[in-house]
Symmetry: C2
Subunit: 309 residues, 2 copies
Amino acid sequence: MSEAKSVLVVGSIALDTVKTPVEEHADLLGGSASYAALSASFFAPVNLVGVVGDDFPDSEFDFWRSRNIDARGVQRVNGKTFRWSGEYMWDMNTRETRSVALNVFEHFEPALPDAYRETEMVLLANIAPKLQSHVLDEMKRPRFVIADTMDLWIETTRDDLDALLPRVDLLILNDSEAREMTKETSLVKAGRRIRSYGPKFVAIKKGEHGALLFSENEFFSAGAYPLEDIHDPTGAGDTFAGGVAGYLAQHADGEVAFDQLRRAVIHGSVLASFCVEAFSLERLRTLSAAEIGERYQLFKMMTQFDFST
Amino acid sequence: MSEAKSVLVVGSIALDTVKTPVEEHADLLGGSASYAALSASFFAPVNLVGVVGDDFPDSEFDFWRSRNIDARGVQRVNGKTFRWSGEYMWDMNTRETRSVALNVFEHFEPALPDAYRETEMVLLANIAPKLQSHVLDEMKRPRFVIADTMDLWIETTRDDLDALLPRVDLLILNDSEAREMTKETSLVKAGRRIRSYGPKFVAIKKGEHGALLFSENEFFSAGAYPLEDIHDPTGAGDTFAGGVAGYLAQHADGEVAFDQLRRAVIHGSVLASFCVEAFSLERLRTLSAAEIGERYQLFKMMTQFDFST
């Protein structure tokens, strides 16, 4: 059974406690896959892969069902759900992890329902590169593979990451991670260098400054959507990745063209700009397709400067 | 005599010594007005106002003449030209001033030749706000006034700066200066706040991340031109301001529209991207209009994502 136009999303599912200079909330739905799946689901059906413990609320499974997110790939096992707790400093940019309890995530081995194996668009949200590779081993010839990574894996499991990269079409990482990975200060040089490690395309996220996109011969610099009130930056990067994957699943037929990737990056940025407006996934839960369309147009108005051709 | 389509540029003219991790050069032409005037001159005739000492090379006057830069407003007085020496750290972003000798600049009082007084476009390049105000006092109803400023004036002569701002149409400053001026961490909030101090428009430069532009009801986020090899960042901000002013003088008839400002900001960014490719003004000296046009098109290709309307 072909699952064309769907996105497979694998990553962490967590219960987060988040503190900002203004508020603190506990037991929020979090984890890279939670954000990425909900974000992607605005554009395409999602096949979700992850693991939760027996403390995980049933209501989330109901919610996923209501959103065209297939959660047959989410294992529920005995024990506690992965828990993360973090605190944002006054500028909402710097973050300190206060505690991490892997719990059931420690021995997570992604198991794919048969119906998932032919999904053509794959988003390996941020988890250990070894698990990301394992998921690819289980897939039948995916058409396009996106992987998100982070400093932790660059520092501690670089060999696993290096083994994954040639299997990836689009690698997503942030500016400091790109610099760390390549020892280049210029992000343009860093983006090019990372492509030489294997990925066909590289997207470097620059937080409030937008994103850069690299292919062999093309380059795209996406402006930033102006955010005035950031309530919780958690998950913005995962939401960006989910929006990119969902948009590509919805729009790319055959080969993924650079022009589609440009618009995918903008849609990822739009989704991320909503994500940070409230804690956890609260803003994404109430978001509508019309609001996404409006903000995309606004984004265009705010960043384009010359409509002559 | 009307001087429509010309730009009056006032600021510092200096001889710089610049050290980067790779090279060091002494006695280079520098100063905010030198960069801004040459940058503006690619788009419009320039009326330059400044002061130099008797050590200043005659050849620069010849060069200005060859470039449609009227230097009758540059006073040559007894003593030494303003000298600045700075060093860039390995990332080419952080800079330390090694020495400053104001010399003839210390008692500089801008004196405008009569022929300059009706120039409609005014660029108050980076100098003390009191001098910037003094120049405006000498002008007859300028149509559009642009002022560049810096942290030094925000910290030491805030009252003078506050007195200038209501007389300015477009204020240009960088991101850290905008935050310092307003105590806002969000650049969007900072930009709006600065507008409330008087300027009709505000441009916040973000270095390698592009620029933001604010009007009462509109907002523009300009992406960054990707720079791989920065040889000397000195004067990039002054060059940006000069490009903005020159482009507006060339294109704005009557009221300056926000759409023109957008393209002016991109042209400023294009000029700045050339400036940093060599020490001092060396790259701007050999730059051609064709190269500017090509890079503008490249900039457009690299930052636009949707040509549907």
